[in-house]
């Protein structure tokens, strides 16, 4: 039923095996990359290997929490990880990341200043931004004629049974906190108690929760509205502009996926070379071509087509209020329990 402890034993055995074999491998001839699924174009990985002769082992995860769990389980010695900002913050706090050597990363000048020295890494010592996105509202404008400007419109009773929401307790709670006017990182018993009736109402109207591919239900016509990752919305818009993207007027969660080198990395040199490669405008542009998130690389943005830059989900109008997640300690469990309880109550 629960695969983890069993797989832990196996990963342990594999780790022992890997350790035994480690001296046989030349250092910096390969990189163990642990990153989100569907986030690196194959051409980018192959291009780097062809240029440098360094092989990339791309292992994927589907949520920041999963990444953290697997990284801490200590199976593979990863050389590069790709946590979301708030997980990166926790890793930095727990001294689990290796500081970057900026002498090897001259391309950092390409990053737009607003994506540097952010709250999760104020000194910009450990992380480089990879892609940025927001969580916002997708509207199938063929089916929904009324204007949707914010979360209150989205969760109105009129759309009951027509909404897909990412299956993420914290995103739901954040939406409620925005509507109630609380800062999105003020998670405490009092605020959650206030959010509870609001969420209970909303959740009755949600048709399904899907973090992995919320666009599917929208494309299939099973729902008409979504509260989804900006990247998903960008791809929907690229497919059919009837899918409009709206940054909620109450405010939106903006997240940055960063690249970092964890403690225990064996190929730090090679990892830096890959990071510098990713900072190149044409490489970064190739990533945007396939995964239309908000690209923090200013030089790369210059290379995008006007159409790409016009995608409202990738580059939303700048007059909205954005907030980023901070690392939550123990209070995370309160969110989880609240949402489980509310789902259960249906």
């Amino acid at each position: 039923m629960i695969p983890l402890p069993g797989s832990r034993v196996i990963t342990l055995l594999l780790a022992v095996l890997g350790l035994a074999l480690a001296p046989l491998r030349a250092a910096n001839k390969e990189i163990n990359l642990f990153a989100w699924s569907e986030y690196f174009p194959q051409s980018v990985l192959e291009g780097f290997s062809k240029e440098t002769g360094i092989r990339i082992n791309y292992e994927t995860f589907a949520s920041g929490e999963e990444m953290l769990a697997k990284m801490l389980a200590g199976g593979t010695a990863y050389d590069l990880v790709q946590p979301p900002d708030y997980i990166a913050e926790a890793l930095i706090k727990n001294r689990l990341l290796v500081p970057l050597d900026y002498t090897k990363l001259p391309g950092v000048k390409n990053i737009l200043p607003e994506y540097l020295n952010m709250a999760h890494d104020p000194e910009q010592r450990y992380t480089l931004p990879y892609m940025v996105s927001t969580v916002g509202i997708v509207v199938n404008t063929e089916r929904v004629k009324e204007p949707i400007t914010g979360l209150v419109d989205l969760f109105s009773p009129r759309y009951a049974g027509r909404i897909v929401v990412v299956d993420d307790a914290r995103e739901l709670v954040t939406a409620a906190l925005y509507v109630l006017g609380y800062p999105l990182n003020e998670i405490n018993a009092k605020n959650l108690a206030e959010a509870r009736p609001l969420l209970a109402q909303w959740m009755k109207r949600i048709k399904l929760y899907d973090s992995d591919s919320p666009k599917t239900a929208l494309l299939n016509g099973d729902v008409d509205l979504g509260y989804v990752w900006g990247g998903e919305a960008a791809r929907l818009w690229a497919e059919n502009p009837k899918f409009a993207y709206v940054i909620p007027k109450e405010g939106a969660h903006q997240f940055v996926d960063v690249m970092a080198i964890p403690q225990g990395a064996k190929n730090i040199e090679a990892a830096h070379r890959f990071l510098e490669y990713l900072l190149r405008p044409e490489v970064s542009k190739a990533i945007s071509d396939e995964f239309p998130y908000t690209n923090p690389n200013g030089a790369a943005r210059q290379l995008l087509t006007p159409e790409q830059r016009a995608n409202p989900a990738s580059y939303p109008p700048g007059d909205r209020k954005f907030g980023t997640f901070r690392h939550l300690g123990e209070t995370g469990a309160m969110i989880d329990e609240l949402i489980t309880d509310l789902k259960n109550a249906r």
Partner: protein, 292 residues
């Protein structure tokens, strides 16, 4: 006839020799590595705490177990059992006639039909589940067919409903019901069914008095193979149910990979496992009591 009172065959006790133990060693090792060690790990975890990052801290506590018996989780467990029970019943109702029919066929046809039951296993579980999504979605095959034939005017909302979850569960586990029942039904001597008819049992009573009891081992195995995994299933609830109604499998998975609370997940898992061992033991004892 009194002259013919010969004795029944004697049942001698057997003792396993060294060779038998040696032959058992790989199995014992397998059990140790893949059952005992993980279970022991689970039990240890379940009494631990987590730190800020979700790492397991070896700090003994009953807290996780106290939380397991929170009404939230008991309700989820109850619902999971309900879904699994419904799935099992539907699997029996559909699977029994299918298994019986296949078992009564002549040899080449029988093997071909069995193959049809097993063919879905040749593709990945996820792909099969996505195929169901393609069938059930509102612009999907089924709705297309229903609308084309004029049965309904507006598409039915099938996907992301409890019905879809049950359809998915029944689909996923039906072969696990059919195969063991087939195994029992195939072994059932047709003369026994004829004997029941001969002694005045009509189709219904022949079924209830002879066929059911004699294929019961297959049914019981089917129930174990369907009911238990169905309770722990989480992928179907996520994919076909839209993650709306949490089942116990979802909660446990959630604790490990989303909430990063492995100790609590482990405690849920331990209680869940104990519950099954207990149910199984009780059922087994009752069975032995009735056969003795």
């Amino acid at each position: 006839m009194h002259a013919l009172a010969d004795t029944a065959p004697a049942h001698g006790g057997r003792r396993a020799g060294v060779v038998a133990w040696l032959l058992l060693a790989p199995l014992a090792l397998w059990l140790l590595l893949f059952v005992v060690v993980p279970m022991a790990g689970l039990v240890v975890y379940s009494f631990c705490q987590r730190d800020d990052l979700g790492r397991v801290v070896y700090d003994f506590s009953w807290e996780n177990y106290a939380r397991v018996f929170d009404p939230i989780y008991l309700k989820i467990l109850g619902r999971s059992i309900g879904y699994a029970a419904l799935t099992t019943v539907i699997c029996i109702v559909i699977g029994y006639p299918v298994a019986w029919y296949i078992a009564r066929q002549r040899s080449p046809l029988r093997e071909r039909l069995l193959l049809l039951v097993m063919i879905p296993f040749w593709t990945s579980f996820l792909i099969r589940t996505y195929a169901w999504i393609a069938i059930l979605k509102s612009e999907g095959l089924l709705n297309g067919l229903l609308q084309f034939s004029g049965v309904v005017t507006a598409p039915l909302s099938l996907l992301y409903t409890p019905t879809a979850v049950v359809i998915g569960l029944v689909y996923a586990y039906l072969p696990f019901m059919i195969l063991p029942i087939y195994g029992s039904a195939e072994k059932l001597d047709n003369a026994l069914v004829e004997a029941a008819h001969d002694l005045g049992a009509g189709p219904i009573r022949a079924f209830s008095h002879v066929i059911i009891p004699l294929t019961w081992p297959g049914i019981a195995a089917g129930i174990m193979l369907v009911f238990v995994p169905a309770i722990g299933m989480f992928a179907i609830t996520d994919l076909m149910g839209g993650a709306q109604v949490p089942l116990i499998g979802n909660v446990i998975q959630n604790q490990f990979f989303r909430a990063r609370n492995a100790p609590f997940g482990a405690a849920l898992g331990v209680v869940f496992t104990l519950l099954f061992i207990l149910t199984y033991a009780l059922a087994h004892r009752r069975r032995r009591a009735t056969t003795a």
